[in-house]
C-alpha cells in the first residue's frame, strides 16, 4: 500500500535517512522503531509532506505522494505534541478537517459526535484543550486524525507524553481502534515494548538505515544484527568466530568466543565457519546452575534485583566486563557473592554476523 523506495534525506553533513526502502500493507499496524535521532521521525514527516527527500520515491497505492502538497495527501498525522488548536473546543478541533472538505454541516456534526463517542470524549466536546488531561488530549488528537477516514494514519510517538499507567490503557485502545476503523497505522516510537505490543511488523532504524523488518516475535527471537539484538529487549552478547556444528544437534553451531571458548548457538544459514560473529542469548533463556555443572560458564553473583514477577540476577564472569543477565521466575534463590554457573540451550542463542 505505502511504498517507500530508496528515500534519502541529508541535513548538511548529517544523513538522516540513507536509502530507506519499506513496504507497508493495507490494514497493517506498522512500527518504526529506533533510538532518538535515527531518522524515523524524518521519514514520517516526508510521508506527511513536511520534508522533501533528496532522493527516492514514496507512493500510496501507486500514486506518487511526493508530487502532492501536504494538504492534498490522504494521510493523517498525529503529532507528538498533539498540536491541538488551543483556541478551539474539542468538537471544533475534530471538525476542522471535515470542514476543510466542505462537507454539509449536518454530516460534520454527526461524524464528530460519532468519533467523540468512539474515543469516549462526548462529555468534553465543548472544552478547550487546556482544560483536558494528557490522556484526553491524546484522544482528541486521535479523534481529529481518524475522523477524516484517512487511508493511512501516521502516529509520532503517540504515547510518549503519557504516564506509564495511562500509556498501557492507551496502547490497548489504539489497537482496538485500529481494528475497528481498519485504517493502516504507522507508528513511530523509541520504546521497543510499545512497538512490540502494538505492531504487526516493526522496522528497526539505526543512524538513518533500516536494520531489520520483522514481526515482533521474530525480531525478538531472531535478531539479525548486533544493533537489533542489543536495542530490542535485553540481551547477553558474546563476540567470537563461527565454529563447527555442536554435537548431537544438526541445526546448531558453536561460537568460538574470544574469552570463553566454544559456546552453543544457532547461526543463520549464510554464516560461514570462521567468520566474525556475535552470540546473543536472552536473560530468560539463561539457566542458573551449580558452579560445577557440565557445560556451564563459571562466575559469581554480583547483584539480585527483584521486580515482582521476575528477578534479574547479574553474574560476573571472569574475562567479561559486562555481567551476564539472568532472569528467573519469582524471587531469586541466590545471594550476591554466591559461586554459580550459567548455561543455555543452543536453540535459544542466536549467532549473527558481527558489524563490519
Amino acid at each position: 500500500m505505502l511504498r517507500i523506495d530508496g528515500v534519502t534525506r541529508r541535513f548538511g553533513d548529517v544523513t538522516a535517512l540513507d536509502a530507506v526502502s519499506l513496504e507497508i500493507e493495507q490494514g497493517e499496524f506498522f512500527a518504526l522503531l529506533g533510538p532518538s535521532g535515527c531518522g524515523k521521525t524524518t521519514l514520517l514527516r516526508i510521508v506527511a509532506g513536511f520534508e522533501t527527500p533528496d532522493a527516492g520515491s514514496v507512493t500510496l497505492d501507486g500514486d506518487d505522494l511526493l508530487a502532492k502538497p501536504p494538504n492534498r495527501r490522504p494521510i493523517s498525522l498525529m503529532f507528538q505534541s498533539y498540536a491541538l488548536f488551543p483556541h478551539m473546543t474539542v468538537a471544533k478541533n475534530v471538525a476542522y478537517g471535515l470542514e476543510r472538505e466542505r462537507l454539509p454541516r449536518q454530516e460534520v456534526k454527526q461524524r464528530v459526535e460519532e468519533v467523540l463517542e468512539t474515543v469516549g470524549l462526548t462529555a468534553h466536546a465543548s472544552r478547550r484543550p487546556a482544560q483536558l488531561s494528557g490522556g484526553q488530549r491524546q484522544r482528541v488528537a486521535l479523534a481529529r486524525s481518524i475522523v477524516k477516514r484517512p487511508r493511512l494514519l501516521l502516529l509520532d510517538e503517540p504515547l510518549s507524553a503519557l504516564d506509564k499507567k495511562v500509556r498501557a490503557d492507551m496502547q490497548l485502545e489504539l489497537k482496538r481502534l485500529q481494528h475497528e476503523v481498519g485504517i493502516t497505522f504507522v507508528v513511530v516510537t523509541h520504546d521497543q515494548e510499545e512497538a512490540m505490543s502494538l505492531a504487526d511488523r516493526i522496522a528497526v532504524f539505526d543512524s538513518g538505515r533500516v536494520r531489520q523488518v520483522d514481526r515482533p516475535v521474530e525480531l525478538y527471537e531472531r535478531p539479525r544484527s548486533p544493533f537489533v539484538a542489543d536495542f530490542v529487549g535485553a540481551n547477553n552478547l558474546f563476540p567470537g568466530t563461527v565454529g563447527g556444528p555442536a554435537d548431537g544437534d544438526s541445526g546448531s553451531a558453536v561460537l568460538e568466543s574470544d574469552a570463553f571458548g566454544p559456546l552453543p548457538g544457532t547461526p543463520p544459514a549464510e554464516l560461514a565457519a570462521g567468520a566474525r560473529a556475535l552470540l546473543a542469548v536472552r536473560p530468560e533463556s539463561v539457566e542458573l546452575v551449580r558452579e560445577e555443572a557440565a557445560g556451564s560458564l563459571r562466575g559469581s553473583v554480583l547483584d539480585v534485583s527483584f521486580f515482582g514477577g521476575v528477578s534479574h540476577i547479574s553474574v560476573e564472569l571472569p574475562g567479561r566486563t559486562k555481567p551476564v543477565l539472568v532472569a528467573v521466575q519469582g524471587a531469586g534463590q541466590v545471594a550476591a557473592g554466591a559461586k554459580v554457573g550459567v548455561r543455555w540451550n543452543a536453540r535459544d542463542a542466536v549467532i549473527m554476523a558481527a558489524d563490519e
Binding site: 513536511f50 492534498r72 494521510i75 498525522l77 505534541s81 498540536a83 476543510r100
Partner: protein, 279 residues
C-alpha cells in the same frame, strides 16, 4: 522580625524608586491636570481658582469635536496601515533562519538610533515640491504632486515613526506560535490561506491588539509630526492641547482636553485588556 515582614520590607525597598517615580511624575501631575480643569482661565493666562464645569461644556463644541474626530481618523488610519504592513513583515521575520532573525530585528529598531526630529525633517526633504519622491515621479512623467503639509503626510510620518512598535509585538506573538499547529492544519487539508485565517491569525490576536495600541496611542496624541508635516488646516488633539497651554494660555481648557485624550486611551486600554483576557 518575622520572615514575611522582612520579605515585605525587602519588596518595598526594591519597589520604592519605581513607586516614587510613578507618584511624583505620573500621579501628581495627573491630579494637577484634573484639578486645573475645574478652574477658570485668568485674563492674561494663568489660573483663577474659582470652580467651574464650563471647560467640559466646551469639549462638545463642534470645532473641538471635529479636531478629536480628525485625530481619531488619522490615528486609526495609521494603525490599520501599520497592521497591514507590519503583519507580513513580522511573519516573514519570525520564519527567517535564526541568524537572519537577529539582523532583521536590529534593522527594525535601527531608526530609533537617530534623533526623531531629524528623521521627520528627512521626510520633509523627501516629500516637498523638488523632493526625492517628486523627482522620481518626474522621471516617469508624473507629478509633481502636493505631498507635504496635508493629512497624508501626517499619516506617512506617524506610520514611519511607529511601525516598529507594531512589528515587535506581532513578531513576538507569531514567533511563539507552535509551527506544528500550521503543519497540523495543512495535514487536515487546509490551504495556506485557510491556515492563516483559522489558526495563525486568531492565535496572534493578542499581538495584533498590543501592536495596534502601541501605534494608536502615540499617534493619537502626537503634536510634533502634525506640526512639521501637516498643513495649516490639519490640527490634531495634541496640537490643540499644546496651543491651549502655550499660545492661548488657557491652562484649564488645555487640562480638560488632556483629560479627554487620556479618557479615550484608558477606554482603549481597558478594551484591549478585556479582549486579551478573553482570547
Amino acid at each position: 522580625m518575622s520572615r514575611s515582614r522582612g520579605r515585605r520590607l525587602g519588596a518595598f525597598v526594591f519597589l520604592s524608586p519605581g513607586l516614587t517615580y510613578l507618584l511624583v511624575l505620573m500621579l501628581v501631575p495627573l491630579v494637577l491636570v484634573l484639578g486645573t480643569s475645574f478652574f477658570q482661565r485668568g485674563r492674561f493666562g494663568g489660573v483663577v481658582y474659582e470652580f467651574t464645569t464650563e471647560n467640559f461644556g466646551r469639549l462638545v463644541d463642534p470645532l473641538y469635536l471635529g479636531v478629536l474626530g480628525d485625530s481619531v481618523r488619522i490615528a486609526v488610519l495609521t494603525t490599520l496601515l501599520a497592521l497591514l504592513i507590519g503583519y507580513p513583515t513580522a511573519y516573514l521575520i519570525a520564519r527567517l533562519p535564526r541568524k537572519w532573525k537577529t539582523v532583521a530585528l536590529v534593522a527594525i529598531v535601527l531608526p530609533f538610533w537617530t534623533n526623531f526630529i531629524i528623521r521627520i525633517y528627512a521626510w520633509i526633504m523627501l516629500l516637498n515640491g523638488p523632493g526625492l519622491v517628486n523627482s522620481g515621479l518626474k522621471l516617469l512623467g508624473l507629478g509633481p504632486y502636493e505631498l507635504l503639509y496635508n493629512d497624508g503626510a501626517i499619516v506617512v510620518g506617524l506610520l514611519y515613526s511607529y511601525l516598529p512598535l507594531m512589528v515587535l509585538p506581532l513578531y513576538a506573538a507569531i514567533e511563539r506560535l507552535d509551527p506544528q499547529l500550521r503543519e497540523a492544519s495543512a495535514n487536515l487539508g487546509a490551504s495556506a490561506f485557510t491556515t492563516f485565517r483559522k489558526v495563525t491569525l486568531p492565535l496572534t490576536v493578542p499581538g495584533v491588539l498590543t501592536g495596534s495600541l502601541f501605534v494608536f496611542v502615540p499617534s493619537f496624541g502626537n503634536f510634533v509630526i502634525p506640526e512639521m508635516l501637516g498643513g495649516s488646516k490639519s490640527i490634531m488633539v495634541g496640537n490643540l492641547i499644546r496651543n491651549q497651554f502655550l499660545k492661548a494660555r488657557d491652562w484649564p481648557f488645555g487640562s480638560t482636553l488632556a483629560l479627554a485624550l487620556i479618557a479615550v486611551l484608558v477606554v482603549l486600554l481597558v478594551a484591549q485588556a478585556w479582549a486579551a483576557r478573553r482570547g
